[in-house]
Symmetry: C2
Subunit: 349 residues, 2 copies
């Protein structure tokens, strides 16, 4: 299997390095071969090639079976013109490779729950999967114009765009607890009314799945007051951006959350939910768990290597259970990025 590795900016390099050594250990143990091709994206690519998504990077991704991404962005590029901003690399990757389904699992880990801002009885046992539409809506709609006097963004959705993400959510719900909360703002938005209609149509094909429509403002409350009530959360792009970051706080550490951005043929891009954290970059203190768990999602969703994925997850959670933590999770003798990864590797032997 060929994997393009896009470390990106900030701590992206350290955490993808960790994920790569873990994948190599898995390859060795289970007799697979992974080829890794490292390429530039984001701010690093702007600096080197004046383009947040250079052609060589696109070519490498096209020749690969999956992409492993670190993180992109940073204050250095924030005042660039839009086309030369680091995040453009990410947005263009999503669009160009048609990665319409963004999966963000949020799962409480009992050993870490004390770091949650929520009370323990509310945060414990949370296990939800956010399914976010990633290539449509206001992120990509035209016109998107701005001058000194006025600005406009456009939020379009076609039936086809909605149907494929709704299908994906039902597929995923069938493998989980068969409950979907579909998020919209149907009392205000036209796109939400089409969204709700299509969800209702698909529901007829999956009679076992319980579907609830809930307004986005109400979901923003319930995610905090009763996060255990959610199984699959299905949402359009902008709402998904906000709600998935909101939900990420439940577990007590952003350094723990992986994500997958996939299309229908198995190709996908895998990346931690956290950002580039430039203030700690290069210091060997970043938590690589989210990147390593993203690699496990790659094995699950792109390579259908379920046993191998489970081995990685068990090694990560087991390392926490053994009492090994990076500095974001403990003040008490934290391990460095490499040292913590070493513990995971030991568990994988």
């Amino acid at each position: 299997k060929r994997v393009t590795v896009l470390a990106g900016d900030g701590i992206g390099k350290e955490v993808t390095d960790a994920a790569v050594v873990v994948l190599e250990a898995v390859a060795k143990k289970y007799g697979h071969t992974f080829h890794f091709d490292h390429q530039l994206v984001g701010g690093a690519a702007v600096d080197a090639k004046n383009n947040p998504l250079p052609e060589e990077t696109v070519a490498s991704c096209e020749a690969s079976d999956a992409i492993l991404l670190g993180a992109v962005g940073g204050p250095k590029w924030d005042n660039n013109p839009p086309a030369l901003r680091a995040e453009q690399g990410l947005l263009r990757l999503r669009k160009q490779f048609d990665l319409f389904a963004n999966l963000r699992p949020v799962k409480a880990v009992s050993t870490l729950i004390q770091s949650s801002p929520l009370k323990e009885d509310i945060a414990k046992d949370v296990d939800m999967m956010i399914v976010r539409e990633l290539t449509g809506g206001v992120y990509f709609g035209t016109p998107s114009l701005y001058n000194d006097e006025e600005a406009v963004d456009t939020m379009p959705y076609s039936r086809k765009e909605i149907e494929r993400i709704v299908d994906k959510a039902f597929e995923i719900a069938m493998k989980r607890n068969k409950r979907i909360t579909s998020v919209d703002k149907a009392n205000v938005l036209a796109t939400s009314r089409l969204w709700r209609q299509i969800v209702d149509e698909k529901k007829a094909q999956y009679p076992e799945v319980e579907v609830r429509h809930q307004l986005v403002d109400s979901v923003a409350m319930s995610i905090i007051t009763s996060p255990k009530d959610f199984d699959v959360i299905l949402t359009e792009n902008m709402f998904g951006d906000i709600l998935s970051d909101e939900a990420s706080v439940i577990t007590g550490s952003l350094g723990l959350l992986p994500s997958a951005s996939i299309r229908s043929d198995g190709f996908g891009m895998y990346e931690p939910v956290h950002g580039t954290a430039p203030e700690i970059a290069g210091q060997n203190i970043a938590n690589p768990a989210a990147a390593i768990l993203s690699a496990a999602m790659m094995l699950t969703y792109s390579f259908d290597m379920l046993e191998e994925a489970k081995a990685i997850e068990d090694a990560v959670y087991g390392t926490f259970e053994d009492g090994h933590f990076t500095g974001d999770l403990t003040k008490d003798n934290p391990l460095g990025t490499k040292e913590w990864t070493e513990k995971v590797l030991q568990r994988l032997q």
Copy 2:
């Protein structure tokens, strides 16, 4: 002073009744006269007049100095065509009376903090004011179209629309702790770039105010992880809808949160943040605190009766300190809506 009372639907009648008797008590004590004119809005108006905002209601509001609103909406009207939905009454009131500034204070009350889903040390001492633009953006942009195959919403903002809400936020910040967090999604949206530019321009006029730009997804995290860090949160319409509902959970009771929707000349509409709660309507169990505190905001923002407003707030918080609660806050001998209001009235004598 003339006040149009729009009870609306569900528990709207009970809670506005409570607010009206409290206002009458204040009028008596301080020697004011308030005239109350009761009119229909929302689902009740759809049922009676086939129009969520009847002409008589508009005429009454035009002849008044302020509007006191209960709540609108309910499942009964959710499948109506858009123009006949209960919420249309509210959206049209906002637009027609140009109520562009929605103020939602979120203040932790020490006697109630144990009901918060957040840990006590995170929730206590929270005191923020959300300033939400209320008459622009994707709520009112055209085209807003939907057919079986595609849908589109439009998010426009003009310089004028942004300037007036930004001005309002700076004015409010000057009376508080002089810190503004301006919310946007400037890495994706054109409207956010204009928003950010105008905030920076205004900042030059208020050198004392500390301004931070923060992306909406990041704010959705910080509101839960470090709510005490916020003083004034300044946001456009859609983001404000989501973030203000999210923030409302911090205090432990939605039944406590008031809001004001104002324009520049002092005219305003005052309403609790909570909804119509049809399942408990008419049972004398709803918590009227949010409606009563909304009446206090009316005294502050529309009538400039600051002492009277403070008297209401003290009476409400004092009633909690005395250990009197409605059923949403205690299971232990809760008071009914009227009985709890009676305790507030006793404190106002």
